[in-house]
């Protein structure tokens, strides 16, 4: 991804470095390499355990399983890059999703918002706005009140969950009730033998957009700088508060989009969030080589991390192993990823 050629790594100090130091240097420069290696190794192992693993249907299934976590993990990456964390991301997605579905299905009858009646596009738009709003709330509490992101989002996790149940009465909206456009991202199209979701395409587009933004825009550079050393960023003339706030708002936007995606993927809208969604997004980011201490990591690494989670899950069930092994494997990977990050940041040229 870097425009620099790998040769400039070894330019000057090559003689003095041991192999281990050279590996450390390469991983420091290309942090998505370690998750990529893990992914490739996992794919090879699962293929050896069961050849069906690499059948087009199964690969298509893996991408479909990755789509929600993968999209939300973009938001989580942005936040973790600023040395923050979002524990409320799953609850916020559920809130936005329920707002979207309820607006599209029930509003006509209840006449609360007459303009929204029978207009699923408006419902989707308002649902995405609800996602943005959750980001505004998190960002406001973190930046204005200077509260730690961990505590704020632990609180809003409960707040958003409760709001969903209070506002939408714990009522699941089933597939037949839902307007077609709400489910559009869950439709598939055929490329050869692969069946891809439109949602997967949307996810990949989002990865491309945010990969570009983080690498090539002033905002992206400032996101890294703020997470790396907030004091240095502030003294360099960056408004750290504005950057952090904007990150939570952008994360909220992604949450809103992910809410739409979830409806398409699941087919229905349930007020009970997937309990693993929060942790899976953080896991994807961490396994993807982004540092929990902020300032380093790549969006590409997160995509790989999200795929590692589903590949391990899918591969283990194809191999006939219990899901407990999936939890075990992911746990070990997280610890290895954090240890690798600690080691990489001690790099010396």
């Amino acid at each position: 991804m870097s425009t620099a050629t790998p040769t400039d790594l070894t330019d000057e100090f090559v003689e003095r470095r041991t192999t281990l130091q050279r590996i450390q240097g390469v991983l420091h420069k290309y942090p998505y390499l370690s998750p990529l290696i893990v992914l490739v190794v996992a794919v090879v192992i699962f293929y050896l355990l069961n050849e069906r693993f690499l059948l087009p249907q199964n690969i298509s299934f893996v991408t479909q399983q990755t789509v929600v976590v993968g999209t939300l993990a973009i938001a989580q990456t942005l936040i973790i890059l600023t040395a923050g964390i979002d524990l409320s991301i799953g609850a916020a997605t559920t809130l936005a999703q329920m707002a979207m579905a309820n607006l599209a299905v029930y509003v006509t009858a209840s006449n609360v918002l007459p303009i929204a009646g029978q207009n699923p596009y408006l419902a989707i738009f308002i649902g995405i706005l609800v996602g943005v709003l959750t980001g505004v709330i998190n960002g406001f509490l973190i930046v204005r009140l200077s509260l730690p992101p961990f505590i704020v989002t632990l609180g809003t996790l409960s707040v958003f969950t409760a709001l969903t149940l209070i506002l939408f009465k714990a009522r699941t909206i089933q597939k037949p009730e839902m307007p077609e456009v709400m489910q559009w991202l869950g439709n598939t199209f055929q490329i050869g033998e692969f069946q891809l979701l439109y949602g997967v395409v949307l996810m990949l587009i989002l990865y491309a957009i945010f990969g570009y933004i983080l690498k090539n825009t002033a905002w992206g550079l400032h996101v890294y700088a703020v997470g790396d050393d907030p004091n240095a960023a502030e003294l360099s003339g960056i408004s750290t508060k504005r950057v952090v706030f904007s990150v939570y708002v952008v994360a909220g936007l992604i949450v809103g989009i992910a809410a739409w995606l979830t409806i398409g993927r699941v087919g229905s809208a349930s007020p009970n969030p997937d309990p693993l969604l929060n942790l899976d997004t953080i896991t994807a980011v961490v396994i993807g080589g982004t540092s929990l201490f902020g300032g380093r990591g790549t969006i590409l690494g997160t995509l790989i991390g999200a795929f590692i989670i589903t590949v391990v899950q899918n591969g283990l069930s194809l191999a006939g192993l219990d899901q407990a092994y999936r939890v075990l494997a992911i746990g070990i990977l997280v610890i290895i990823a954090v240890a690798t990050d600690q080691w990489i940041r001690k790099v010396k040229a």
Partner: protein, 268 residues
């Protein structure tokens, strides 16, 4: 002192007061920096040296008092505002982002953008130009040990990081460069290089404020020495008019200088 020149200060602070809760960091401090000089600011710990210069850097906002740049009254609310007035600072902490590369650090907070709509609307970075210009700036300062401009700053030695911070200030400072303890963490050779850089900056016509604890270094490069004590200016001397012992005596309060002799314009 009889020297009454018509040169007006490029940087001036009048009766600056800055408190942090109950701690009084600046208690009516004054400062004058004249064009093309190196002014050393010395003082004991807690004398208000860093607080004083941070007002001019835009990192602190004084509670009261007035600041002037080229005779114009200024109020800096952020470091960017000070930078816009041509005042650049090398902070004691260096204020560099360790995971970012050298070029990104040089341009941090004032990135060059691509021309046209992409640059204006999406704030797309012109990395090529920033890298080329950064390499040129480092070359101008005679820093040849940094060969790879895309190297992360955390992979550099302490002296090299210092060089990056100084290069950033030198590249953009059009009038004044403030250095807070630039040699405190450096070895002998690296310190010598930074002192050489300070002299080069003066030769390029810039005015420099140097905070230092190191008396021999201060006497080596400074044109005048501003001695801070208890949040005020205790005296201004020149390396020729005073000895190191005198300076230390004023710093610690063993010797006091009458109010009317505290101001000293440059002897040129």
């Amino acid at each position: 002192m009889t020297a009454t020149t018509t040169v007006s200060p490029i940087v001036q602070g009048k009766h600056l007061i800055k408190t942090f809760g109950r701690v009084v960091a600046l208690d009516g401090a004054d400062l004058e920096l004249y064009p093309g000089e190196v002014l050393a600011v010395v003082g004991d710990n807690g004398a208000g040296k860093s607080s004083l210069i941070k007002c001019f850097s835009g990192a602190h906002i004084p509670d009261s008092g007035e600041m002037f740049i080229n005779g114009d009254r200024v109020e800096f609310k952020s470091t960017s505002e000070a930078r816009r007035h041509g005042v650049e600072t090398v902070f004691q902490t260096l204020a560099v982002a360790p995971a970012l590369d050298i070029a990104s650090n040089l341009y941090l907070g004032r990135e060059e953008r691509k021309p046209g709509v992409v640059g204006a609307l999406f704030r797309t970075l012109d990395k090529k130009r920033m890298r080329a210009d950064s390499a040129q700036h480092l070359k101008d300062l005679g820093i040849s040990t940094l060969q790879n401009i895309t190297q992360a700053v955390e992979t550099l030695s302490g002296g090299q990081r210092q060089a990056v911070a100084v290069a950033r200030a030198a590249a953009f400072g059009s009038q004044v460069i403030i250095l807070d303890e630039p040699t405190a963490a450096l070895g002998v050779n690296e310190s010598a290089r930074v002192l050489k850089m300070i002299q080069d900056l003066r030769e390029r016509g810039l005015s420099v404020i140097l905070i230092s604890h190191n008396m021999p270094q201060v006497f080596e490069v400074a044109d005048r020495i501003h001695i801070a004590r208890l949040g005020k200016r205790a005296a201004v001397v020149t390396p020729r008019s005073a000895s190191m012992n005198d300076v230390v005596a004023v710093m610690t309060g063993a010797m006091t200088v009458p109010e009317n002799e505290q101001q000293l314009t440059p002897v040129n």
